[in-house]
C-alpha cells in the first residue's frame, strides 16, 4: 500500500512537472514572438513596401497584399473541388471507389509541402516560363482540397439519418436531400473547415519558395511574381542584418494576426451576419 501511495505521489509530481515544463516553454515562446514582433510595428510597416537594401524603414505591405490574394485565390480554386469531393464520399460511403477517394485525400494531405513545391515548379512555373502568384495559389490549392474534403465528409456524415430518411420518404431526390438537408445542417461545420484550411495554407512557405518568387514591389497582378508573408519571413530570417531580422519578427506577428483573423474573426462575423453558427 505504501509503495502504491508513493508511486501515486511521485507520478503526480512527474506529470505535473512535464506539464509545467511544456507550458513554460510554450508561454515563453509566444511571449517572445509577440514582443519581438510588436517592437517594430508602426503605421509604415503595414502600409509601405520594403526599403532598398541597407536603408532603414519600409514595411511589408507587399507581403500582406500577396498573402491575402494568394490565399483567397487558392481557397477559391480549392473550395469547389474539396466540398464536392467530400459530398461524393459522404453520399457513396459504402462504395469501394469512395474509400479510394478518401484514401487519396489522406495521401494528398500527407504529401510534404516541399514536394508540392516541386510540382508547382515543374508543372506550372517551368511550363509557363514564369514565376507567378497564380502558380503559388494552384500549388496551395492542392493542400487546401484534401483537408476541406475530409472535413466536409465528416460533417455530412454527422447529419442524423432520420432527417435524411424523412426527406426521402417525402419523395425528395438525393441531390435535394443533400443540398437542402445535409448541407444546411453541415453548413457551419463546412465553413469552419474552410476557414481552418485557409488559415493553414496562409502559413505555408515551402510551396511558395518555388512558385511565387517574391517581390519588393506591391503587386496586384496574379500572373506576376508576388511576395507573401511566410516567404518574406524566411528570406529576412536568413539575413545577417538586425534591421531585416527585426522585420522578420514583425512580419511573423502580422502573419499570426492574419491567421487568427481567419480562424476566429471571420467565423464571428459569419455567425452574426448569416445567423448561421460557424
Amino acid at each position: 500500500m505504501r509503495g502504491r501511495t508513493f508511486k501515486n505521489a511521485l507520478m503526480s509530481v512527474l506529470v505535473a512537472a512535464a506539464a509545467v515544463v511544456i507550458i513554460a516553454i510554450l508561454v515563453v515562446m509566444i511571449w517572445h514572438i509577440f514582443f519581438s514582433g510588436v517592437r517594430y510595428l508602426n503605421w509604415d510597416f503595414f502600409t509601405k513596401a520594403p526599403a532598398v537594401f541597407g536603408e532603414a524603414g519600409g514595411g511589408v505591405f507587399n507581403a500582406i497584399v500577396g498573402s491575402v490574394l494568394i490565399t483567397l485565390v487558392a481557397s477559391a480554386l480549392g473550395t469547389p473541388f474539396g466540398v464536392f469531393a467530400g459530398i461524393y464520399v459522404a453520399e457513396h460511403e459504402d462504395q469501394r471507389f469512395a474509400s479510394a477517394v478518401r484514401l487519396c485525400a489522406d495521401a494528398l494531405q500527407g504529401v510534404p509541402s516541399i514536394v508540392i513545391g516541386i510540382f508547382g515548379y515543374t508543372f506550372l512555373v517551368a511550363r509557363f516560363r514564369s514565376y507567378s502568384a497564380l502558380s503559388a495559389s494552384i500549388a496551395l490549392a492542392f493542400m487546401f482540397i484534401p483537408t476541406t474534403a475530409r472535413v466536409t465528409e465528416e460533417v455530412l456524415l454527422l447529419v442524423p439519418s432520420s432527417l435524411k430518411e424523412a426527406a426521402y420518404a417525402l419523395g425528395a431526390r438525393r441531390s435535394s436531400v443533400v443540398w437542402n438537408i445535409s448541407i444546411k445542417s453541415a453548413a457551419s461545420g463546412i465553413t469552419s473547415g474552410l476557414l481552418t484550411s485557409m488559415a493553414r495554407i496562409a502559413g505555408e512557405t515551402a510551396p511558395l519558395l518555388f512558385t511565387a518568387f517574391g517581390s519588393r514591389y506591391i503587386e496586384w497582378n496574379m500572373l506576376r511574381p508576388m511576395s507573401a508573408l511566410p516567404l518574406q519571413i524566411y528570406i529576412d530570417a536568413g539575413s545577417p542584418y538586425p534591421a531585416q531580422q527585426q522585420q522578420a519578427w514583425s512580419a511573423a506577428f502580422v502573419l499570426i494576426l492574419l491567421i487568427l483573423l481567419l480562424q476566429y474573426g471571420i467565423r464571428f462575423v459569419i455567425s452574426r451576419v448569416l445567423r448561421v453558427k460557424a
Binding site: 509566444i30 485525400a105 516541386i118 441531390s175 524566411y234 530570417a237
Partner: protein
C-alpha cells in the same frame, strides 16, 4: 396509368444529374491528382534512377561538383530528426495529456488547451524563426559546454554555430508536441468513466487507475497518434531547414550540421542546373513521398484495428 413527368420533375432530374456529375468529377480529380503526382515524381527522377539505381538509397556521397549523388546522408538526417523528436516529445505529450485529463481543473485546463491549440496552428516558418534566434544560441552554448566537458575538440568546433541535428530535434519536438498531446488527450477523454470509477472504488490510487486502466485502454490510439506525429515530423520543411545547418556530409554526431530529405530540396532545388542534379533532388522527393505514404498507411492500419477491437 403512369403520370407524365412534369416540368418540375424534369428540372429535378437534370439537377440530379448535374449534381452527381459535379461531385463525381471532384472525386475523380482528387484521385487523379495523387496518381499524377506519384507518376510525375517517378518520371522526373528517371536520370538519377538510371545512373545510380537502388544503391542511391545507401550511397553516402552527395557531391554536386563531381555529380555523385546518394541519399543516405539525407535519409539518416530525416530519420534521426523524426525519431529523435518523437522520443523527446512523447513523454511530455503523455504527461500534458494525462495532466489535462486527470489532474487539472477546468480553470487551468481551458487556457492550457487554448495555448496548445494556438501553438499547433503556428506556421512552420515562425517556429524556424524562433528556433534560429532563440533555440540555436542556447543549443550552441550547451554544445560548447558539453564539448569542453568531455574534452572533445571536434564536438566543440561542431557546436560553435549551434545549427545541426540537436537543434532540429528539439525544435521538431516542440512542433509535434501540440499535435500528439491533443490526440492523446482526445482518446483519454473517451475512456469510460465506469472503468475509472470502478477501479477507484476498489481502492486504487489515481495513478493506479491511470497506469492500469487508462493507458492500456488508449494504447492503440496512442501508438496511432505517435505514428501520425512522426509523419508530421518527417514532412516538416521550413523550421528544420532553418536550423539544421545544410550539411551535405554524413553527420558524425548530433552536433554536426546535416540535412533532411525536405531541407536538401528546399536548399538546393533552385540552383540545380545539371539534369542529374535536378533528377537526384526529385528522387529525394520521391523517397520522401513514399515514406510519408507508408507512415500514413501504417497509422491508419493501427487506428483502424484499434476501432475494431
Amino acid at each position: 396509368m403512369v403520370a407524365r413527368q412534369s416540368r418540375g420533375d424534369r428540372r429535378e432530374l437534370v439537377r440530379e444529374r448535374v449534381f452527381d456529375a459535379v461531385s463525381l468529377t471532384a472525386a475523380v480529380a482528387l484521385v487523379a491528382t495523387i496518381v499524377l503526382f506519384l507518376l510525375q515524381l517517378f518520371i522526373a527522377s528517371k536520370d538519377s534512377r538510371a545512373a545510380f539505381g537502388l544503391p542511391f538509397l545507401w550511397r553516402s556521397e552527395w557531391n554536386p561538383v563531381t555529380e555523385q549523388f546518394g541519399a543516405l546522408p539525407m535519409i539518416v538526417g530525416t530519420l534521426i530528426t523524426g525519431f529523435g523528436a518523437l522520443l523527446v516529445s512523447t513523454p511530455f505529450a503523455l504527461g500534458v495529456a494525462i495532466f489535462l485529463a486527470d489532474y487539472a481543473n477546468r480553470r487551468i485546463a481551458g487556457p492550457v488547451k487554448s495555448l496548445i491549440g494556438l501553438l499547433g496552428g503556428l506556421p512552420s516558418v515562425i517556429f524556424g524563426l524562433w528556433g534560429l534566434f532563440v533555440l540555436v544560441p542556447l543549443v550552441s552554448r550547451f554544445e560548447v559546454w558539453f564539448g569542453h566537458l568531455v574534452g572533445s575538440e571536434a564536438l566543440v568546433s561542431a557546436g560553435t554555430t549551434g545549427v545541426g541535428l540537436l537543434s532540429a530535434i528539439l525544435l521538431l519536438a516542440i512542433m509535434i508536441l501540440p499535435f500528439s498531446a491533443s490526440l492523446i488527450l482526445e482518446s483519454l477523454i473517451v475512456v469510460p468513466a465506469e472503468l475509472r470509477e470502478g477501479a477507484l472504488a476498489l481502492g486504487a490510487t489515481k495513478w493506479d487507475t491511470i497506469q492500469n486502466i487508462e493507458l492500456p485502454y488508449i494504447r492503440r490510439s496512442t501508438v496511432g497518434a505517435l505514428v501520425l506525429a512522426l509523419g508530421r515530423a518527417l514532412g516538416e520543411t521550413m523550421a528544420v531547414t532553418m536550423v539544421i545547418g545544410n550539411g551535405i556530409r554524413m553527420p558524425h554526431s548530433l552536433f554536426d550540421p546535416s540535412n533532411t530529405l525536405a531541407s536538401a530540396i528546399a536548399n538546393q532545388f533552385l540552383e540545380a542546373t545539371s539534369p542529374l542534379y535536378i533528377s537526384s533532388l526529385i528522387e529525394l522527393g520521391l523517397i520522401l513521398f513514399v515514406l510519408a505514404i507508408l507512415i500514413n498507411v501504417a497509422a491508419r492500419v493501427i487506428l483502424r484495428r484499434g476501432v475494431e477491437t
